[in-house]
């Protein structure tokens, strides 16, 4: 079920009603769990079995991991959990990709191998709930927290419908304690939640699907070389589309949880106002980047084993992060480019540390490596220029992310940076105006809001202004009448 559907509106209304009835907390939790299974099953019912399998295995393995004293048996249990979770992910998500690459490899060494092409359907959200359960078992292995006592709470932690299909990726300590005591949204939380839900749907339906999806699809689906303007507009459109799509989903998820009295972690902080790539990853898909940092980068050694090893760890993390997004080498290149930019930033930081005298240091870049680049406040115009530079480079990386293959990616990059003779003009004037207006407003909004948050800000403005903005979003949402398109991140 997707948030931008009439089915969800009916479902959510019923859930709100049930959750506010005078029932025992356990009964409400059972309601939430059953509703979460329904939320998932109405997509593709058989895949609910995978969710159950993942839940049951990790609940019991997690308990055993925590209690086990024998280090060998403990490692064996961790391996069981990793094989279970990652094996499932590999089979469903990377099965075809691995087979294709194996066939190409055998062909390269002269072997004639033509296996039947398997039909593997990717279960929605498998990358998200696999990461959710993985962090639980790793935490149990490292005894970072205590095992969840109740199977009901653990099942709800894995399956809670607002985050199930496309995050935010939650950690046990963020969500499990919330199931231990009765929770219900008060009137303010409920209305704020509904406001955020309107905002999230507006971002997805009006901006991502209504304004930007079609030109992005047209440009990345074009077989002919494009004119420079069209190539740039297509890339900018995708840049906006993926932000509004995914941030819209996260906003809806946070909002829905809020209406039920729960708190989910923030997933986006105006990423296109980022100054540098480390800042970008502190603002884009925050729960994934922090997951990769805590469960991949740091276990690999992080920055503890010298500069070279730090760069290697950074690259491994970003390459695997790229592959997490999709079974295609274009995603790996996308991750690799982000890794290179992050490594470049880290290198500048190291050089700066060595060369800049202490007094100058205060007035120049205060580069913080993996934790982000921050400029001195006085240089606000430089900050804006650096944010624009970051946005420009992020757009270049999106070309690989969105292109179905390298041929398309090179063709679009060529059109973006050279004057292709006979490059086709593809987008209409109206489409170009729409993209320009939406992307410009998006960037301005990100820049203005880069150190602010929506709800505290709204509390500072007049009620009738907020009411007008809210009404405008809802009217545009209703008038958009876009079909219930899936969110882009469902396929990851």
């Amino acid at each position: 079920m997707v948030f931008n559907s009439l089915t969800f509106i009916v479902f959510f209304a019923i859930m709100l009603l049930l959750h506010n009835l005078p029932l025992a907390w356990k009964v409400k939790k059972i309601n939430l769990l059953l509703a979460s299974y329904l939320f998932y099953a109405v997509w593709n019912p058989p895949f609910i079995l995978l969710l159950w399998l993942s839940t049951v295995v990790d609940f019991f393995v997690g308990k055993a991991l925590y209690a086990q004293q024998n280090p060998y048996k403990k490692k064996l249990l961790l391996v069981v959990s990793l094989i279970g979770n990652l094996g499932m992910l590999c089979f469903f998500k990377y099965g075809n990709f691995l087979l294709e690459n194996f066939v190409q490899l055998t062909s390269a060494i002269g072997l004639d191998f033509h296996p039947a092409k398997p039909t593997i359907i990717l279960p929605a959200g498998i990358s998200f709930y696999t990461f959710t359960t993985l962090c639980y078992t790793i935490d149990m292995y490292k005894k970072r927290s205590e095992p969840v006592r109740s199977v009901l709470d653990f099942s709800l932690f894995v399956t809670f419908f607002p985050h199930l299909v496309a995050g935010p990726i939650v950690r046990p300590e963020q969500l499990v304690p919330q199931f231990e005591t009765p929770r219900r949204a008060n009137q303010t939380q409920l209305v704020q939640g509904l406001f955020l839900l309107s905002l999230g749907l507006f971002m997805k339906v009006v901006l991502a699907d209504g304004m930007l999806a079609s030109p992005a699809d047209a440009v990345f689906g074009s077989l002919a070389p494009l004119a420079t303007l069209d190539a740039w507009m297509g890339v900018l459109a995708f840049s906006g589309q993926i932000f509004f799509d995914f941030a819209g989903y996260s906003t809806c998820a946070i909002a829905v949880a809020m209406c039920l009295g729960f708190v989910l972690p923030e997933n986006f902080k105006y990423p296109y106002a980022a100054i540098g790539f480390s800042d970008f990853w502190k603002r884009w898909h925050i729960t994934l980047s922090s997951w990769l940092r805590d469960y991949l980068y740091i276990p690999l050694g992080g920055n503890r084993n010298g500069k070279t090893r730090t760069y290697i760890n950074l690259m491994i993390t970003m390459l695997l992060g790229g592959l997490w997004h999709g079974a295609n080498w274009t995603f790996v290149v996308w991750g690799g480019l982000h890794g290179l930019f992050l490594a470049g930033e880290k290198m500048i930081q190291d050089l700066n540390k060595n060369r800049t005298p202490a007094i100058v240091k205060k007035r120049s870049f205060a580069i913080q490596g993996i934790s982000g680049v921050q400029l001195v406040k006085a240089f606000s115009s430089s900050k804006l220029l650096l944010a624009l530079l970051t946005f420009f480079l992020v757009n270049v990386t999106w070309v690989f992310f969105r292109s179905p293959d390298f041929t398309t990616a090179w063709s679009i990059l060529t059109s973006m940076f050279t004057n292709v003779e006979g490059g086709a003009a593809l987008l209409t004037s109206l489409t170009i105006i729409k993209i320009t207006v939406v992307i410009s407003l998006m960037f301005i909004c990100h820049w203005v809001m880069r150190n602010r948050k929506v709800l505290p800000l709204t509390s500072k403005i007049r009620w009738w202004v907020l009411g007008l903005v809210w009404a405008l979003m809802l009217i545009l949402l209703i008038l958009s009448q876009e079909s219930t398109n899936s969110f882009i991140y469902f396929q990851f």
Binding site: F8, T428, S429, S459, W464, L468, S483
Partner: protein, 356 residues
């Protein structure tokens, strides 16, 4: 406390403003004399696709392009024949992907009418297969959630005029701003109001207001002229391509007939310069006659039957509602003459389309 009041007051204001705006918009549209129109998307197509398993003496499936969607008046058909008309044609598309889909479906054993609009039926450009393939894909992958959303949406669409995606969605309204386009950029034609409404049975129709407005009609004829010019730039269909298409159509028809199904081709009316162009580009002996001869199926070409041979289509390509009623009545008579059997044989004074 202050924040609580702020959000509650803002929320109430938003509800009032949204309600007032939508109610005003709805009243305005109703005063324009418009009818309800449904979103002719994959969900509506899938809903009809599920119905093709009805018994051969109870239903007829129609596939093709936009002409059969306009020209077959479904209430007239159902009133006279007592037979359920299942409309699976797609605007601007070839019927071949749907024909293949039905041929591969072992459970389909019914009556099938295939509308032949030559420049789409024999086209090889990928765009003619796009919508049918998307609809088939949607049908195969439709989730329970999508089915439920469709049911809820049906209730809303049946009661609210402003939920006409083709004419009143945000993008349709923006397209109406008529911003001059860049030179040499293809822009999907903007059809005027009243040309694209669709009933829940997937019948397309022109409103009386459209038919009586020569500016609107001319706007559509200019679109056909533009398509004509574009097709002149495309390479002509080769004999080998025609043979290949006919062979694949024959295979599909044979499969359906082998299971007890019935197949008939129909060439629906066109007129004026468009018909002249079609006669020239797609001569009967090379396309229509060859198709019937190769497949061994029956066919009804409008030019062979005087009662339907001389329609003057408002925009040269599709029939108006009264013309569609007349065409449908004659079409049923011809089918009966060709041995088609229907559940009932009511008199031919069927009412006009009650949904329009």
């Amino acid at each position: 406390m202050k924040q609580k009041r702020l959000f509650v007051k803002a929320g109430l204001l938003a509800v009032i403003l949204v309600s007032a705006t939508l109610i005003s918009w709805e009243i305005h549209l109703r005063n324009q004399g418009r009818g309800i129109s449904y979103d002719d998307s994959g969900s509506l197509w899938s809903e009809k696709r599920k119905q093709v398993y009805e018994a051969i003496d109870k239903a007829t499936v129609f596939i093709g392009s936009s002409r059969i969607k306009y020209d077959l008046d479904i209430p007239t058909w159902q009133n006279i024949t007592g037979d359920h008309a299942i409309q699976l044609a797609n605007v601007g598309s070839s019927p071949r992907p749907v024909l293949d889909n039905l041929a591969e479906d072992q459970h389909f054993k019914g009556k099938l009418v295939i509308d032949v609009t030559e420049f789409l039926f024999f086209a090889q450009a990928p765009f003619v297969d796009k919508t049918p393939k998307e609809n088939i894909d949607y049908y195969k992958k439709e989730t329970p959630a999508q089915k439920f959303s469709f049911a809820v949406n049906h209730v809303l669409e049946s009661n609210l005029f402003f939920l006409d995606k083709e004419e009143y969605s945000l993008n349709a309204l923006l397209a109406g701003t008529k911003i001059p386009n860049r030179t040499d950029v293809y822009e999907f034609p903007d059809f005027p109001a009243g040309f694209t409404p669709v009933t829940f049975d997937r019948q397309s129709y022109m409103t009386d207001r459209f038919v009586n407005d020569s500016n609107s009609v001319n706007q559509v004829t200019r679109v056909w002229a533009m398509f004509g010019k574009m097709s002149e730039k495309m390479p002509p269909v080769t004999n080998a391509a025609i043979d290949g298409i006919i062979a694949s159509v024959k295979t599909a028809c044979d499969k359906i007939r082998a299971r007890g199904g019935q197949v008939i081709f129909v060439r629906t009316p066109s007129s004026g310069p468009l018909l002249a162009m079609e006669r020239m580009a797609f001569p009967r002996e090379k396309f229509w006659n060859k198709l019937l001869a190769a497949t061994g199926c029956q066919g009804i070409h409008f030019e062979d039957y005087p009662p339907i041979a001389k329609f003057e289509c408002p925009e040269f390509s599709h029939l108006s509602v009264p013309q569609a009623v007349s065409f449908t009545k004659t079409f049923i008579s011809i089918l009966k003459d060709k041995g088609w059997r229907f559940p009932s044989h009511n008199n031919l004074t069927a009412s006009t389309n009650s949904k329009i």
